[in-house]
Symmetry: C2
Subunit: 150 residues, 2 copies
């Protein structure tokens, strides 16, 4: 039988990544990443969404910290930033598998569906190669009108 108590609650990737750069693990950073992990991989949240959700759950985080932490988590690779059609920036948990995502967006109500497509990924990679660019990621945004809004 193992020891009953483990004073260090298993150093996760967040702690590890932060400490490597001399940065610190704060309750706010933990809360923000936890929120994305609990809410699941396919959800797109704005900075204000994150703030409201955390405040609603009695957490004490300022909007400024949300913005700073979201940028940090994107830089560290935990989150990905999305550029949807309305100009609003959204964030979602990095999908460890590919890193590329395609979105079908209703221009009326904002409803967004995700899908995958290998031909699209290949086309992006090929275009980058042709122009001598180093590929980071490719994202297809399909602007459309959803069944409810028609």
């Amino acid at each position: 039988m193992p020891m009953a108590s483990s004073p260090v609650p298993v150093e996760g990737p967040l702690e590890h990544g932060l400490h490597q750069d001399g940065r610190r693990l704060t309750p706010q950073r933990r809360l923000i990443l936890d929120l994305f992990e609990q809410i699941g991989g396919g959800t797109h949240l704005s900075a204000e969404d994150v703030h409201r959700l955390l405040v609603d759950s009695k957490a004490r985080v300022s909007l400024a910290t949300i913005y700073r932490t979201l940028r940090l988590l994107v830089d560290m690779g935990f989150l990905q930033e999305l550029e949807l059609s309305d100009g609003g920036r959204r964030f979602e948990l990095s999908s460890g598998d590919h890193g590329d995502h395609h979105h079908l967006i209703c221009v009326r109500c904002g409803r967004t569906e995700e899908f995958e497509s290998n031909p699209v990924l290949e086309a992006g990679a090929e275009a980058a190669k042709r122009f001598g660019f180093e590929l980071i990621e490719s994202s297809l945004n399909v602007r459309a009108i959803c069944p409810n809004c028609r």
Copy 2:
């Protein structure tokens, strides 16, 4: 010999579209659309770009009118709005042929190359169909680093 003067200088699509809705053809609207037509189809301009170019050429147009007119021209289908990686909104002449465009964007310097890809268009159309959406347009944004910035 025909009459020497033709008081209506050939009503173009802009005049026609405007008058249909009880809207008016103003010098500002003409200037803004002319700018895009002269500069060519592949160029992406921000609202400020348009303003600066017009002011530089001695035109008298306010930034507010630029914004109002850009939206109008997009609504009328003469221009298309682009959502590039940095969150900046850009506009370009509607390419009469397809209406879909794909961009390769350098995340460091903002250099943008355009390319075409039928598989991408097909993938977008197929996704829209699968979810029951009515397709408007699809755009692939490939985030990458250009040769100069590497």
